[in-house]
Point group: C3
Chain length 341, copies 3
Amino acid sequence: MVRAFRLAEIAERLGGEIAGNPEVSVYQVATLENAGPGHISFLSKSRYRRLLATTRAGAIILSSADRGATSIPRILCEDPYLYFANVSRMFNPEQQARPGIHPSAVVDADATVSPGAQLDAGCVVGAGAHIGDGVIIGAGSTIGERTHIGRNTRLHARVTVYQDCEIGQRCLLHSGAIIGADGFGLARDGESWLKIPQIGRVLIGNDVEIGANTTVDRGAIDDTVIEDGVKLDNQIQIGHNVRIGAHTAMAGCVGVAGSATIGRSCTVGGGAVILGHLSIADHVNVSAGTLVTKSISAPGTYTGAFPADDHKSWLKNAAHLRGLDAFARRLSALEKKERTK
Amino acid sequence: MVRAFRLAEIAERLGGEIAGNPEVSVYQVATLENAGPGHISFLSKSRYRRLLATTRAGAIILSSADRGATSIPRILCEDPYLYFANVSRMFNPEQQARPGIHPSAVVDADATVSPGAQLDAGCVVGAGAHIGDGVIIGAGSTIGERTHIGRNTRLHARVTVYQDCEIGQRCLLHSGAIIGADGFGLARDGESWLKIPQIGRVLIGNDVEIGANTTVDRGAIDDTVIEDGVKLDNQIQIGHNVRIGAHTAMAGCVGVAGSATIGRSCTVGGGAVILGHLSIADHVNVSAGTLVTKSISAPGTYTGAFPADDHKSWLKNAAHLRGLDAFARRLSALEKKERTK
Amino acid sequence: MVRAFRLAEIAERLGGEIAGNPEVSVYQVATLENAGPGHISFLSKSRYRRLLATTRAGAIILSSADRGATSIPRILCEDPYLYFANVSRMFNPEQQARPGIHPSAVVDADATVSPGAQLDAGCVVGAGAHIGDGVIIGAGSTIGERTHIGRNTRLHARVTVYQDCEIGQRCLLHSGAIIGADGFGLARDGESWLKIPQIGRVLIGNDVEIGANTTVDRGAIDDTVIEDGVKLDNQIQIGHNVRIGAHTAMAGCVGVAGSATIGRSCTVGGGAVILGHLSIADHVNVSAGTLVTKSISAPGTYTGAFPADDHKSWLKNAAHLRGLDAFARRLSALEKKERTK
């Protein structure tokens, strides 16, 4: 099943300039450290050049600037990391649907399943749902009533999509992802909380990836919207009525509270939290561990984490945080005295 | 299936004063922005009054103080948000059990399932379990041995409840919730860790809501207890032997470590972490992103997050955190000199 | 099914010195507060000695130093908590596999399942998978193609292991755990992100425990590695190509970003985040809520959290964080003036 490619063949498909023997043949990607003669590796940062001296890779992808850094057959290009990604996609194509419905799947008589879709063991598809051509629904996944899954989208095992949601084409949802659970909508009623029915939907565009155990809540009244090309890592929580702009990427464990609007092409670092009803502009980068409590209107990078230190030093320094306001006043008093001398 | 209600009918059920035509008929709630003639909307904060000028809503719920803000038929009441919640509950009643056991469900011969319960495809119910009247067990959910599920409680698809747990009446558990997994109980044994059997249970009261992918661990020896009316959002982790007081609400991604005791009617903001063995008084609000390392004995709001800033400013300022103690000493030295002049 | 043990019998198996009647018989562990005559309890910290006065426990485990603190029959030992753990393991042995494959399980014809393994309802085992002797695969769990599960490992209900992973012996995986989902590997391609196939595996050693809803991503090219004896609590995210050294324990909600290398016998507190490509030495303790942004080369405890305070005080003090650099300059200016007098 493994297929080897000659460098000439790769460059013909993906571009780039070959240096050294174009007939060298490789069948898989590998890191410089672990590559063997059948592997093609890559150098994306010049500071790893020392690894070129010892690698056993059969071929290497590097930037034109590093042309002379090795005599191993190589492909020179502008962006070696992107080129490597494309080569890896040639060698490791995505799994295609093997059309058919496993006998243990439970598909409602009123659901529409494309003959080109693959439904794995134990998955459940509700009434009025629509499963497009080339879709893969992994084992044990559940598709709610009237939910639509677009062409060539793949759900791994045990994904849950509630009723009335829409997922676009070529999306990838990992196990444990939950799309369309109720948002956290409660009204105070004396000492108790009264649940507000969550009647909005989740609308997910095309080419979206959603990581393992990530949750995207349905809207309270209007919809929660994830635009095209958004990439969400694992264990992320997206609250009701959030809108995430196209091509924004979020790392693991991020939390976005209800009704936040996040722009296009943003990045959010691991463990960051964005509070509700905020608006974040396009091209904003939020650093890992940062709590965003106010809207951000200008592109740029925003950070707010407490730097780690050895525990004793931290104890000593952090104790003064509660005295910062007093510091400020003491400092001003000294300055005033100094000025009046 | 949709049923419309006249304003007069709504006010008869829920109270409030009608201004304008009481015969106007609406069938669903909507936001001011997206409402049409068949919708009833609400204004809970006067700062959104400008939206009244352009809304196409058929009727509006607002406070008596905003009576004159629109001529659209309206219901005046004390708490428009709570009133809206009640209206939405009239229009969108909770799903009732459709009694029956799906043929693909696996129910142990020694389990007791009320004839009024609904067990969906592929769910699994262990020996000695008890499923009450009106309960819905979603597709692929697993109920452990000897676990009791109280009347009219609903588990969405793929909820897991381990053995020997008790869940009260009218609870709502979302997909991916896991109740009763082992707490993190380990004893040091040289370089290794020895697992301590987790033999306590999880006891959940009535009217509790538990969000998607939230986990509540069973007790180590005694039980983990979630009292009546508690509301937990998604992706929350509740450690073993925690007790959460009635009507406390926690937003997404909160972590509560083992043996913490949290009072009644508290709120905990998204991403906050409460350390183990602490005691939190009733009516405490913990802000989002706050790490609570000490018990809190007085009601009030507690916060501890580092404010986000643009990255360069943060870098410049945060660098001084490691020098706060030195700052303090330098400041004191200057003050001393000043005093001795 | 419950079996009682005499103190003499316990001490014979586990060591320790008996004080009082060695014929007293107990059948379960309990806390000092809730113990009855058939229970054995323990005192691990002298500060809880007051509880000895009122406990109704039939027997107590305590340190030799506390020998005289009660007249209840007792076992004296060096480490009462570890001793208690061992006693509890005698009373509450782990569940053994009841060999057999539930009729609703879906096992590929090309999978190898040991006759001594237990496969529960609705679990799915892919082609080429290997399930060892004494393994328990819980209801609804999914084992990917070519994945190996070592002897006596237990997966609770609804665990997902993707293809080509290896899990060692005597491991315990809790519900919702997901092993081997794709890492977050993306290359920028203009405004879009290009997915990089994640072709590495997850290799998990022996005696590893993985908590509910914890996710461990597969490697991008090389493998993600969890060494022997590692203990991961719930809701943890481990990125691709992370390596966690033997006997390291992490509390709930921790995030470890891609390619971080964490040493042996470390502990990581709840909600901490460790950024990617860092290296953490052996025997490092990271405190709860700490963001680790730089490698740590020396053993010790590291902390970086903002201390919680009442909200008003926090507001007042936190406002000065943006002025710390200005503080520093003002302080230096005053010192300079002072020196030049």
